[in-house]
Symmetry: C2
């Protein structure tokens, strides 16, 4: 398999974690988002919508959208599972993942930040306040959801799930913008547990070949 | 089953379509978002994160996030299916659904529009321009993805899928803000096909008991 991705892209990071958790080797193909490489004609042939990440499977099928890619990996390589076995558990893990992927991250991706600066003329400080606002507000919702669940090592249960694959990149992004994580006890405990796991370490931006830090 | 929802909420509309497609009866429990009923303590007991929709299943489990709820319905009531049988087809349908649910809709939900007005002091015209920008840009990506697929009645294949459950509410929202749909040939053909289907008609805002139009 091949993964078109970018070291700092949160959605790319999610898929890298899933690949590492399942022990699946892949070819890392960097797409430099800040340089606009995803908008070049060459990348249009990889992804019609020009979005990152794109997974190319061994049959040459191109698959987009990080949550869809992770579900695909879980269906085609079921061990270890990224979702519980029972439908209610699966729904709860997916809801946590989507709390990040549908409520937090979309507000803070690169094209939105560009719109804030170019079209709405926000200065750096107000742009960063926007960023932190949505991360903090979203993670407070995440914390409230975790508070309803039995205690566990990771977000849901004692093995990493799709929820953790989404949470960890979001925490990384929040850190870059100095978001406060105060009081997010269970959320940050799940994050800390993940960061002790080799799959999350291997997938993190600083381990990527295109890392610039 | 019970569904806490709001006639005009796009995420609620998605789940209503899925319930109608599967012919599942449910109790409709309205939560008036514009009046802030989702922030009242009573609703906090329904949904810790205070988000709409929430499905309560027959065992009393509370499930949030529209995509997760629809996957749950598909797993527990498989006929008719909302996803193809093969993993690549499933990944493609999920990616289309997420193109709406992760790239378009989050930018235009009520709390974001409120932030634009209250914090960023955008006037009505600039707020509406923001709205239309993300709907139009996102649907152009959707159209490009459809253009890569074999011709079909709906977004993917000749029966409605999770992708259509997300697309139709997004088109409704775009219409409310006078978004241009020019040139979105396949996307709008899928929308038109859906609107001839009784499940989509039954689920639409004007058919809801809390409809105010």
């Amino acid at each position: 398999m091949k993964l078109y991705n970018y070291f700092r892209s949160s959605a790319s990071f999610r898929v890298r974690i899933a690949l590492e958790l399942k022990g699946l080797p892949y070819e890392y193909l960097p797409v430099h988002l800040v340089k606009g490489e995803h908008k070049q004609p060459g990348y249009g042939a990889v992804s019609p919508s020009g979005l990152v990440p794109t997974l190319v499977n061994d049959s040459g099928e191109h698959l987009g959208q990080s949550l869809a890619i992770m579900e695909y990996l879980d269906e085609t390589h079921p061990r270890p599972p990224l979702l519980p076995a029972d439908p209610v558990g699966r729904a709860k893990v997916r809801a946590l993942a989507q709390l990040v992927a549908c409520e937090i991250h979309p507000l803070n991706n690169l094209r939105v930040l560009k719109y804030l600066v170019r079209e709405l003329k926000l200065d750096e400080e107000r742009k960063n306040a926007w960023y932190r606002h949505w991360v903090r507000e979203g993670l407070e919702l995440y914390e409230r959801e975790l508070a309803q669940l039995p205690s566990s090592t990771y977000s849901f249960g004692d093995t990493p799930t799709l929820a953790d694959c989404c949470l960890v990149p979001q925490i990384f992004n929040g850190m870059r913008f100095n978001t406060s994580f105060d009081g997010l006890t269970r959320t940050m405990a799940a994050y800390e547990a993940c960061m002790k796991h080799p799959a999350f370490q291997q997938a993190q931006p600083s381990s990527c070949p295109d890392n610039e830090a």
